[in-house]
Structure formats: structure tokens, C-alpha cells
């Protein structure tokens, strides 16, 4: 038990060292001491006349910090969303995108590039992501109930539908716009600014807190619909609430940074293997570990080469071998 506690403590505190490490690295060389000086003086004394070059301040405060915060937020959101849906669906292959969110969102972006719409690409991504999930849920609903199998199937149907729509949009897009859509689908945090952080902060943090509060219900739901009902839980209401929260935090992330794959699939799985199936621990820990995972992946994306590597591809490439290793090691035991 002591070992488990210390494991939990380490996982919970991971983002803190990762945060400071990330603040130090980047393509623009700044002495580590200066980075901390800028960081501290900006927080405690923003009006101070800075003795360092203005470029230092721009790099630390306008480029690195918002990007780090956004990576933490999005990483946490995607993992918590994945954890909740995996628990709800009782299936380790579930990701935040299972109900068609990513395809709906990318169609929204394609549409905004193709025809003049009153919203920005980000708002379109958010709205169409939600629309896709809503459609999937409505399709899956049979006689007032939504069995897990129908939900998965409905997700497949909706994804296929929006994929087709998106290809139509792609077909008519200008090459320059098309290139933009391709980069958007690969996902990336390279344009992160304070506005993105302020837009995503509240919904993601509130969503994660609410899901944490629902975690004991998730424990019950993950035993199966029948058992949950036997225990007196209104399964439909709880399902709707959990799916909505998980979808909103993932949709907010996707709308700002594009579809970053695998974070929401591998991190929940990893935590479950490490500390067992109790969602009261799973949800907060997948937030901290997911945040750290995406942050480190993004550090690599922005500092390995002089140009940007797509972070979505890095998360996938680093996730796959690790996943294979864990699967072999535990022989798939974490799902009983």
C-alpha cells in the first residue's frame, strides 16, 4: 500500500518538474537563471524594467509559457476524456474520438475554409465536434437506453459520415487552404498564445473537476449497465452527463490544437495498469500524467529541429512501442 501511495504521489506531482524543465528548453538560447528571473519578475512585478533583452521576455512569456500551459491543459483534457469514456464503455480501445468528435471537428474546419461562415475555424471545429457526438448518441439511443455496443457502432457510423463530408470539402479546397487543413488534422501547438490559454482554461478545468466528482459513479457504471441499475444508479442520466463532459473538454482541446492522437488512448491505459481500476484515482492522475506526456512530446516537437514537427505524430510514434511493451508485460491483465 505504501508503494502504491508513493507511486500515486509521484504521478500526481509529475507536471511540476516537467513545467520547469519545459520552460528552460527551446530553440532560442536563454540562460536558465534568466528564464527564472523573467518568470518570477513577470509574476510578482510585471511593471519592472527588465535588464534582459526584450526578445528573452517575448520568448519566455509570449511563446514558451502559453504553449506549455496549453499543452498541459490539452494533455489533461484528452486523457481525462479518454479515461472517463474507457470506464463508461468498459473498453480499453476507446479514445475521446470514439463518438466521431475528431471527424466532426475536422469537417467543421474544412467547411470554414471552404465557405464563408460567421464563426472562426476554431468555433466551427468545436460546434461540429459536439454535433457529431450528439448525432452518435441519438443514433445509439434505443427505447430510452443507450447500450455500449450501439454507442460504439453509432460512433463508427458518424465518423464515416463526416469523413465523407470532409473529403467533399477537401475536393473543392484551394491547395493553400488544403495544406492548412492537413496541418490542422496533424495537430500542433505552435501557434499557442495567451488567448488560446484563456479560452480553454475554464472549460477544461471545470470539466475535469466535475468528472472527478463523478468518478465513483464511473466505478459503478464500469461494472455494467445491469449491475449499475441494481445498485440504484440512473444509468442514462449519468451516461449523458459523463459523455457530455468528456466530449466538451476534448472538443475544446481539438478546436484549439487540432486532432492530437493517442494521448487520450494510451495515458488512461497506462494509469490503469499502474494503479488499478478505481476512477477516483484514475481521473486526477490521468490529468497530471496526460498533461506531462503531451508537454514532453511538444517539447520535442518544438526543439528537435529548427522547424516544427507535428506533435500528434510524435505522440503516436512514441505511444505505439510503449503500448506494445505494456501490453506484453501485463498480458492485457488490467482489464481482467
Amino acid at each position: 500500500m505504501g508503494a502504491l501511495k508513493s507511486k500515486i504521489l509521484v504521478l500526481a506531482l509529475l507536471p511540476i518538474p516537467a513545467f520547469f524543465f519545459s520552460l528552460l528548453i527551446g530553440r532560442y538560447e536563454i540562460p536558465p537563471v534568466t528564464v527564472f528571473q523573467i518568470f518570477i519578475s513577470k509574476i510578482f512585478n510585471p511593471m519592472m524594467h527588465s535588464p534582459w533583452p526584450q526578445a528573452y521576455e517575448i520568448v519566455v512569456w509570449e511563446i514558451r509559457l502559453p504553449r506549455i500551459l496549453l499543452a498541459l491543459l490539452v494533455g489533461a483534457a484528452l486523457s481525462v476524456s479518454g479515461t472517463s469514456l474507457q470506464g463508461l464503455f468498459r473498453n480499453p480501445l476507446v479514445s475521446p474520438y470514439i463518438l466521431g468528435l475528431s471527424w466532426g471537428a475536422s469537417f467543421g474546419v474544412a467547411l470554414s475554409l471552404l465557405v464563408p461562415v460567421p464563426f472562426s475555424a476554431q468555433v466551427m471545429a468545436f460546434l461540429f465536434g459536439l454535433l457529431a457526438v450528439f448525432l452518435a448518441y441519438s443514433i445509439a439511443k434505443v427505447r430510452g437506453e443507450t447500450p455500449v455496443v450501439s454507442l460504439v457502432l453509432a460512433g463508427v457510423i458518424v465518423s464515416a459520415f463526416f469523413t465523407a463530408l470532409q473529403y467533399i470539402a477537401k475536393f473543392f479546397l484551394e491547395p493553400h487552404e488544403l495544406q492548412g487543413l492537413v496541418y490542422w488534422m496533424m495537430g500542433g501547438l505552435y501557434l499557442a498564445n495567451w488567448e488560446d490559454v484563456s479560452v480553454t482554461f475554464a472549460p477544461i478545468i471545470i470539466g475535469i473537476i466535475l468528472l472527478s466528482l463523478m468518478s465513483w459513479r464511473l466505478n459503478v457504471l464500469s461494472m455494467g449497465d445491469y449491475e449499475a441499475k441494481m445498485l440504484g444508479l440512473n444509468t442514462e442520466v449519468n451516461k449523458i452527463v459523463i459523455i457530455s463532459l468528456a466530449t466538451v473538454i476534448a472538443a475544446v482541446s481539438v478546436s484549439v490544437v487540432g486532432t492530437i492522437g493517442w494521448v487520450g488512448l494510451i495515458v488512461p491505459h497506462l494509469i490503469r495498469m499502474a494503479i488499478g481500476p478505481d476512477h477516483r484515482k484514475l481521473i486526477p492522475l490521468s490529468a497530471t500524467v496526460g498533461a506531462t506526456f503531451l508537454l514532453i512530446a511538444d517539447d520535442l516537437a518544438r526543439s528537435l529541429t529548427s522547424y516544427e514537427l507535428p506533435v500528434g505524430i510524435l505522440t503516436t510514434l512514441s505511444g505505439v512501442p510503449f503500448f506494445v511493451y505494456l501490453l506484453k508485460k501485463t498480458k492485457g491483465r488490467s482489464w481482467g
Binding site: G26, R27, Y28, E29, A55, I58, V59, E62, I63, R64, S112, L113, A121, F171, E174, P175, H176, E177, Q179, G180, L181, Y183, W184, G188, Y190, L191, N193, R302, T305, S306, Y307, E308, P310
Partner: protein
């Protein structure tokens, strides 16, 4: 006596020498000792009414001279820009007061300003920025002399202008540009790249410390990149190319940015020489003499419509584009094979970077009824840029394919080698005469 006389002479010489030496020393001392300070005392200060001016703007310099004496002083005020006098006037400064003098002149380039009066001098800098209008129509202020530019769009033009010294970063796509790779005096892959207009490492961009970024705009993603760069306080010149005139506009714009206006006009003359040759021979063709030509893009069914430079090239080269009649307001409409069969094009020209070959079209059973396929008039040009001076060679190539009889005397390879030598200092890296 004789001895004594001799002794007297010697004494006289010695005395004279000493006297001369004393005189020389006295003169030297007189010259070396600083002149006694003027009896009056002045204090001088000056400032411009703006921190910097745009080229051609009227700069106003306010000079304040304070007379610290009890008597009026009249002295000559001199203002010089890089040693060149722009103002010279006697000024009367009443006793124990300050006199303000305003001097105006046209700010045409940055300069060191020296103001002097009565032995006092004051130095300051005249800061001048250039203002260029980019393809957004936005007036962008850039330093008079751009020494650090990051070029994410149309980098080969910067090289052709002879301004490569000022480039500190390029688009990652430059690493695979055949012309940039062929250049002798630079190794393009060693030039740092912060990415592309679609995916940019902002921190690397800031690390390159550019004075200006030249990039694409006019798409949602690239516009957002531009917005981010400008938010960091780096001026952005945005370009977008869709018709032949845009190339001239681009060359002149880049020429202005890098102070290579003369070379820009030279490049335009080089382009026009070859284009004029094409125009001269095709201008008087009647409608019947103009064969139907289509241009196909990444897929054989994606054709050039009425917009874009390839349609202009077909028309210049003495052809007519049936797709332009059908889709006058589109750049790259995708059509069905039946449409192409209906058009009966006499020649088909394939985009240089397309992934399919002339043989793929010639051997495709669906295309067999098309006159171009029957005559073997299907062509593919080298993977060259349409947005550079070599577009003139492309026009010549189109023309010789469409009207071989009119251009039989012309060896395109020779023209290409000559143009490339004049523009890039290398022979054409492409084969133009298969």
C-alpha cells in the same frame, strides 16, 4: 688672432643655432598649447519630432541653443547629415536665454546628424524606415536597410535580386527546391529554417532575429501565422500569387525591400524579352489557327480553368483553353473524362510536379479518342517554378509545343541556359528539349 676669430665665428654659430632652436620650440609650443577658450559659453541640444521617419517624409529637427553669458552671441549654426550640409545660418542668441531653431529637410535615408555652433557639437541619429505595400494592401514599415530577413515565400527571387546576404532563414520547402539546390555559391540546406507558412516554430523565428518576414497569406492557416508573427512585433510582408502581373509586382516589391530596384527592373526586362519573342510570333494568329490546349494538374482530370498563370501561358503561346470557356472563374476545376473527350484538345500539357507521366496519358484506353493523344501531342514540362523569371522559358516551351512550325529555329535549352545564367548565375538545371 686667427684662432680667436675662428673661436668667435664658432660662438656666433652656436648662439644663432640656439636662437633658432628656441624660436622653433616657441612656435611649436605656441601651436601645441590649446587656443584660449572663447569668452562665450553655449549649451546645445536637439531632437526630432518623431522617433523615425518614412522615406521621403519631412523631418523636423528642433535645435535649442542656450546662451550662458551676459552678452548676446551671434554664431554660425551648421547642421550636417553624414557630412553633407543641410542648414547653415547665423543665429543670434540673446544674453542668458535659449533660442530654438527649427530645421526641416527630407528624410531619404538613415543618417548621422551633426549640429555645431560656436565650437559646440551635438550628434544624433536620423532614423528612417521604408514603407512597402504588400499584397494585402497593407503598408508595412521595415528598416531602410534590411540585413536580416526570413523568407518563407519565393526565396529564389531574393537570390535572383542579389540580396541573398540579407537572408537569415528560409522556408523548409526551399531545401527541396531544384533551383536552390543547384545554386553554386550557396548551400541552401545550411540556411536555418523555422518551418513553413503553415507550420512555424515561432521561437526559432525569434532566435533568427529577423527585421522582416516574407511569407504567404490569404488562407486561414497562413493568415493566423502572419497574425502571430506580427503579434511578436516582427513586420510581415505578405504575398500571394495568382496571375502573371503578380510576378512583376512581387519582383518589384522584393526589389524595394532589399534596395535592389535596379536589379528588379533588369529581371523584368529579362522576362519580357523572352515573352515578347513568344508574343511577336503568336500575336497575329487567327482563332482557327489557335489549337485547343488543356493544362492538367496533380490529377489528369484536374485542369486549368480561366484563372491562373497557366491559362495565361496557353493564350500567350498561341493556344486556346477550352476549360477556360467552360470555367472562366475557376483556377483548378476537376472535370470528368467525358468532358475532356468532348473538348477534343489538340494538345495536353502536364504540370511539371505531377506524379503521372506523358506515357500514362498516352497509354490510357479512355483517352484514345482525344486528338492530342492520337497525335502524340502530350507534353510535360520540368519541375520548375511558375513564379520566377523562368516563367518566360515556360511560355516559350508551351509555344514551341503548340506551334512547332513557328518556333522551329529556337533551341529552348539555349534560351533557358542564357536566362538562368543571367538570373541565377547557373545554367538551367532542367532539360527543356527532350
Amino acid at each position: 688672432m686667427r684662432l680667436g676669430r675662428r673661436g668667435e665665428t664658432k660662438t656666433a654659430v652656436t648662439i644663432t643655432s640656439i636662437l633658432i632652436a628656441v624660436l622653433v620650440i616657441a612656435i611649436a609650443v605656441y601651436l601645441l598649447i590649446p587656443q584660449q577658450q572663447a569668452t562665450y559659453k553655449l549649451a546645445l541640444s536637439a531632437s526630432f519630432d518623431k522617433p523615425y521617419y518614412r522615406v521621403g517624409e519631412q523631418a523636423t529637427l528642433s535645435v535649442e541653443i542656450t546662451n550662458l553669458n551676459n552678452t548676446d552671441v551671434t554664431q554660425n549654426l551648421l547642421v550636417q547629415l553624414n557630412g553633407e550640409t543641410v542648414y547653415r545660418e547665423d543665429v543670434l542668441i540673446p544674453a542668458s536665454s535659449t533660442k530654438a531653431v527649427t530645421v526641416s529637410f527630407e528624410a531619404d535615408r538613415p543618417a548621422n546628424v551633426t549640429i555645431s555652433i560656436g565650437g559646440e557639437t551635438y550628434k544624433l541619429k536620423l532614423n528612417v524606415v521604408k514603407c512597402v505595400v504588400d499584397f494585402r494592401g497593407k503598408e508595412v514599415e521595415i528598416p531602410y536597410e534590411v540585413k536580416r530577413a526570413v523568407v518563407l515565400a519565393e526565396y529564389q527571387i531574393v537570390y535572383a535580386l542579389g540580396a541573398w546576404d540579407s537572408v537569415v532563414g528560409v522556408s523548409r520547402y526551399a531545401y527541396s527546391n531544384p533551383i536552390m539546390l543547384a545554386l553554386k555559391d550557396i548551400n541552401i540546406t545550411t540556411v536555418p529554417s523555422p518551418g513553413t507558412p503553415w507550420s512555424l516554430n515561432l521561437e526559432e523565428l525569434v532566435a533568427l532575429n529577423p527585421q522582416v518576414v516574407l511569407t504567404y497569406g490569404f488562407s486561414v492557416k497562413t493568415n493566423r501565422t502572419v497574425e502571430q508573427i506580427e503579434n511578436l512585433g516582427i513586420p510581415c510582408v505578405v504575398v500571394s500569387l495568382s496571375k502573371l502581373d503578380d510576378l512583376y509586382r512581387l519582383i518589384r516589391l522584393y526589389g524595394k525591400i532589399f534596395n535592389k530596384e535596379d536589379r528588379a527592373e533588369e529581371l523584368i526586362i529579362l522576362i519580357n524579352q523572352t515573352l515578347d519573342l513568344v508574343k511577336e510570333r503568336t500575336a497575329n494568329l487567327t482563332d482557327e489557327e489557335r489549337p485547343k490546349v488543356i493544362h492538367t494538374w496533380s490529377k489528369p482530370l484536374k485542369v486549368t480553368g480561366g484563372l491562373g498563370v497557366t491559362n495565361t501561358l496557353i493564350e500567350l503561346a498561341g493556344g486556346k483553353n477550352p476549360a477556360a470557356l467552360e470555367f472562366p472563374d475557376e483556377k483548378y476545376p476537376t472535370v470528368s473524362i467525358e468532358k475532356i473527350i468532348e473538348w477534343e484538345p489538340d494538345a495536353i500539357i502536364i504540370w511539371g510536379a505531377a506524379k503521372y507521366s506523358v506515357e500514362d496519358i498516352l497509354n490510357n484506353s479512355q483517352w484514345q479518342s482525344i486528338p492530342a493523344v492520337q497525335n502524340g501531342s502530350v507534353y510535360k514540362y520540368p519541375r520548375t517554378s511558375t513564379w520566377a523569371p523562368e516563367i518566360a522559358i515556360l511560355a516559350l516551351r508551351f509555344a514551341k509545343w503548340i506551334h512547332p512550325e513557328l518556333f522551329s529555329d529556337i533551341n529552348i535549352q539555349e534560351y533557358a541556359d542564357q536566362l538562368f545564367m543571367q538570373v541565377y548565375g547557373i545554367p538551367s538545371p532542367f532539360e527543356w528539349e527532350p
